[in-house]
């Protein structure tokens, strides 16, 4: 009964603090505007500039590697060739080093020709070469058809080429999309930014305004007040995570529609919920860190001065994680922030490791509970609440 009462008191405190924070314009600005306006805008902007650089690449005359026989065939049969032919060795390495734009193989069977084309989708020039070659073969077929119609009676239909075009993106997984690599990192930064102000306001801010004394004199125990603060700050952590990921998905959809491009964040409903399962514990983890630093500080200014170095460390760790390959080393799943970045990344590229993600979530929950207990203990000490 007493336990139930305690939870109820924490709940009404959390409800009061959520309402209080929602009335603060700055909170709405950070949480709603940044997640639902800034992130989609960022996605659209980045995709737009990618499309622009692709347009610029279209004017480039690509260099395409061909086998000697294929090169001879192309030269002998077509007068205008829209690319430079490369006949050197180590074709694949040269393509990956961006020295050429594509590798073409022709499998001929009489007039039937199967064209295989390898390119790098993350290189605008290579991507443009793919579009150019594809269009060229389509034009050859079209011209042939016109000639056929013009001289219908005399034409030998067996000499008409029939192209079957097949393409392969050879970009390594880690380079497939730089945007997809940094999205997990931006999401985490967004979550911290969303809860930072609220966590500081609920602790150091309350001390500064002397409202914490008012709370402490009410018939709530220190633990109930602390738990209420954890609940309210975590609520905003969860909302921020939800809005951030929604913002990115919406941004990706809008940019895909507007610019007629492939959707960068292509996740189904299961993966969406999996993302939230990763984001919820990490947002609670950040909430508790911020609350601890907040109660440790005398005022908001001091709290911010403690949070800034931590913010920089998280930015650094998160950034390093974006450069790592998707999570395979299970030890990494025990490192907070790194585990979340790698888990989110694996979901975005749809290469999910269940064991890695499970360990990541469980370890983050463990750290969060530990931090929550530390916060509640600190909150019981008058040195921190009244000092």
């Amino acid at each position: 009964m007493i336990f139930k009462l305690e939870i109820f008191k924490s709940y009404i405190l959390a409800k009061k603090e959520v309402k209080h924070s929602l009335k603060d314009f700055r909170v709405m600005l950070t949480i709603v505007i940044s997640t639902l306006v800034f992130y989609p805008g960022l996605m659209i902007g980045v995709t737009y500039f990618q499309e622009k650089s692709l347009d610029a690449a279209q004017s480039n005359i690509p260099t395409i590697a061909l086998e000697k026989n294929d090169a001879r065939f192309i030269r002998e049969n077509f007068q205008t060739i829209p690319f430079i032919i490369y006949e050197g060795d180590r074709k694949k390495e040269v393509l990956l080093d961006d020295e050429i734009e594509g590798i073409m193989n022709l499998a001929r069977n009489g007039s039937k020709i199967k064209v295989s084309y390898q390119y790098k989708a993350n290189s605008p020039k290579s991507l443009a070469s793919y579009e150019k070659v594809k269009a060229w073969f389509s034009l050859i077929e079209k011209n042939q058809l016109n000639d056929f119609i013009n001289s219908l009676e005399n034409i030998d239909t067996t000499s008409l080429y029939d192209f079957k075009f097949q393409s392969t993106d050879v970009t390594p997984e880690s380079q497939r999309s730089q945007l997809v690599s940094i999205i997990p990192y931006i999401i985490l930064i967004g979550v911290i930014a969303g809860i930072m102000g609220i966590g500081v306001d609920n602790t150091a801010g309350e001390k500064e305004r002397n409202t914490l004394v008012t709370l402490l004199t009410s018939s709530q125990s220190s633990s109930e007040i602390a738990l209420g603060k954890v609940l309210s700050t975590s609520f905003f952590g969860i909302i921020t995570s939800l809005l951030t990921i929604t913002g990115f998905i919406v941004g990706s959809l809008i940019s895909a529609n507007m610019l007629d491009m492939e959707n960068l964040i292509n996740i189904d409903i299961v993966n969406f919920f999996l993302l939230l399962t990763i984001l919820f514990p990490i947002s609670l983890f950040f909430s508790n860190i911020i609350l601890i630093l907040g109660i440790f500080s005398k005022n908001v200014k001091e709290a911010n001065s403690y949070i800034m170095p931590l913010y920089i460390v998280i930015i650094f760790v998160g950034f390093i994680s974006t450069m790592m390959e998707k999570g395979t080393d299970l030890k990494l799943a025990l490192i907070p922030v790194v585990n979340s970045v790698l888990s989110i990344k694996s979901i975005l590229i749809n290469e999910i490791s269940t064991s890695f993600i499970s360990i990541s979530i469980l370890s983050t929950i463990f750290y969060t509970i530990l931090l929550m207990m530390i916060f509640i203990q600190l909150f019981k000490k008058e040195k921190y609440t009244l000092g």
Partner: protein, 247 residues
């Protein structure tokens, strides 16, 4: 009602120790108003915070209605109403929202909380700004809300830390009238103050200086024995009344 028994409070840091309150003892009966006076830094607020269970004494005990104070004893917090020197109100809330929240915390149901707030609004005369945002209220209005918050759960002991501090003459008058009304309800009140008019309301008076209780008496005796509160102050604290002017 209240027994303060040999309490001391020491604040320790790495460099030094400060004894804010030193071996203070006194009693307060039901329906009595006790005034605590003393110069700045005398330990008045620390003493009041210890009685309010906000902070624990380093030594000694405080007993309210046969219960010893403790920061975790919720029962004892229900017996005390504490109004700090800073009002500590949530500016973004209306007066009603603020009081309703604390009403719920003190265990009132939704309807009970509403009825109690209406009752207090009528008693303390703030009905007309009950639904106004606290940040839009004047200092006097805020002080009334703060006192209402202290009285919300019908405490047996009300602690007022400088209740008329910073109020204009009219607002201070109203606050004193509220205190007089409360005395009639048998609520015991402790007031920390520097203001002579506040002291005149008190039944008894104690003077703190440098953490020590240096004087305790009935207010009437003080009025009879001293020309002014200043005289009492200089007498019991042994400060020099002659100001040296460097001119």
């Amino acid at each position: 009602m209240l027994t303060v028994n040999n309490i001391s409070k020491v604040f320790s840091s790495k460099k030094k120790q400060i004894k804010a309150v030193n071996d203070v003892s006194f009693k307060l009966n039901s329906g009595e108003i006790l005034g605590i006076v003393g110069p700045n830094g005398a330990g008045k607020s620390t003493l009041l915070r210890m009685i309010a269970s906000l902070t624990l004494p380093t030594e000694g005990t405080i007993k309210i209605n046969n219960n010893y104070t403790s920061t975790h004893n919720r029962g004892i917090k229900d017996d005390i109403g504490y109004v700090a020197v800073e009002t500590g109100l949530y500016g973004s809330m209306t007066s009603f929202e603020f009081l309703y929240y604390f009403g719920r915390v003190h265990g009132y149901g939704k309807k009970e909380a509403f009825n109690r707030i209406t009752e207090l609004a009528s008693l303390l005369d703030f009905d007309y700004y009950l639904y106004k945002k606290i940040s839009h209220l004047s200092t006097g209005m805020k002080q009334k809300i703060s006192i209402a918050r202290g009285l919300l759960h019908k405490p047996h002991l009300l602690i007022l830390d400088e209740p008329t501090n910073g109020l204009d003459i009219i607002a201070a008058y109203y606050v004193r009238e509220i205190i007089k009304k409360l005395k009639q309800t048998q609520t015991s009140i402790i007031i920390s103050t520097h203001i002579i008019t506040d002291i005149k309301m008190c039944d008894r008076l104690i003077v703190l200086n440098k953490g020590n209780l240096v004087y305790e008496s009935n207010t009437m005796d003080v009025i009879n024995n001293y020309n002014s509160l200043e005289d009492l102050f200089f007498d019991v604290t042994r400060y020099n009344k002659n100001v040296k002017m460097g001119m």
